[in-house]
Point group: C2
Chain length 162, copies 2
DNA sequence: TATTGTTATACTCTATAACTATA
DNA sequence: TATAGTTATAGAGTATAACAATA
């Protein structure tokens, strides 16, 4: 791992935070590497996977809702959904109440693909986290939950408002 | 935040791990959003920032060393360094011992830019982590350190060997 | 007028392949 | 023959702008 040289003059209590960010970046890269073969095998991309996950979590979500949640533009999600629909993993149908909107849902096959990928991820991560104290993992969840809340508060859900 | 619906039939101890991944994804997106304006202001991209950070951490590193560390291809790093050199943030000079290799170093201006960006990141994250128990943050660092080690072990440092 | 979804288009990032020069 | 760096090129991924249908 890259050794964190002090990037700040002061070496205050924020050092732990900087270290955490560096670790975060490494875990990110390593996770993407691990996940890549699985996604390739299923024939979908990272963006498509997160689209599937969001459609699955938010039942009956629209394109723009998914876009807001993932923090990407509507055309990006639209393209992802196009491909997922072609692959038979996601269904579109016009909303009855607001005929501009499109309601998204997973097909049975889409649900199976999502489950397989999550299962693969969980296996890899469980392996990587094996033997770690439950209390430490729980503490990480607490930290990330809190950080997520505050970041998404201040972030005001771009990228529309650039 | 996206509610994690049970993606696995079994709801075993791996549930915490799945939750952690979902949180991880959210923190990632939120962090990138936070960081984007700062990087734009400094006139560099995310990839260029990590290149600067790696050059700074690994004193006298070569292009290929940086590429291996970041898990990206040599041409990508080469391009990043090109732009950073044009911007006057990084210097190249041929190694004396192996005249194929290029040794990289930050210019004084490059060091200032790195410090400013880290300072900004640390500020944002410290704000986001404010009030959290020190012990929880420390536990997160332990978890991420362990996970990083095991993931980079099994990952065998692609993307050359695809 | 504002909003949803979509299409058209351009730009950035990244990778593979091919080339040069050293070893 | 292998390695370090570079150049050329192509493919993903994403965003902005413009458009159609609906509210």
């Amino acid at each position: 791992m890259v050794v964190v040289t002090p990037p700040l003059e002061r070496r205050s209590e924020s050092n732990d935070v900087v270290r955490l960010i560096d670790l975060f970046h490494e875990v990110l890269r390593a996770s993407l590497r691990e996940l890549h073969p699985t996604l390739t095998k299923e024939g979908i991309t990272m963006g498509q996977f997160w689209a599937i996950h969001t459609v699955s979590s938010l039942q009956g979500a629209s394109v723009s809702t998914v876009a807001r949640y993932l923090g990407v533009s509507a055309p990006t999600v639209c393209g992802n959904i196009d491909q997922l629909e072609d692959a038979g993993l996601v269904r579109r149908h016009r909303s009855e109440r607001d005929r501009r909107a499109v309601e998204l849902s997973l097909t049975p096959r889409g649900r199976k693909v999502e489950a397989r990928i999550w299962s693969e991820i969980a296996g890899v991560m469980a392996e990587a986290a094996r033997g770690l104290p439950e209390t430490d993992v729980a503490a990480s969840v607490r930290v990330f939950t809190a950080v997520t809340h505050r970041l998404s508060r201040s972030g005001t859900l771009r990228p529309e408002g650039t």
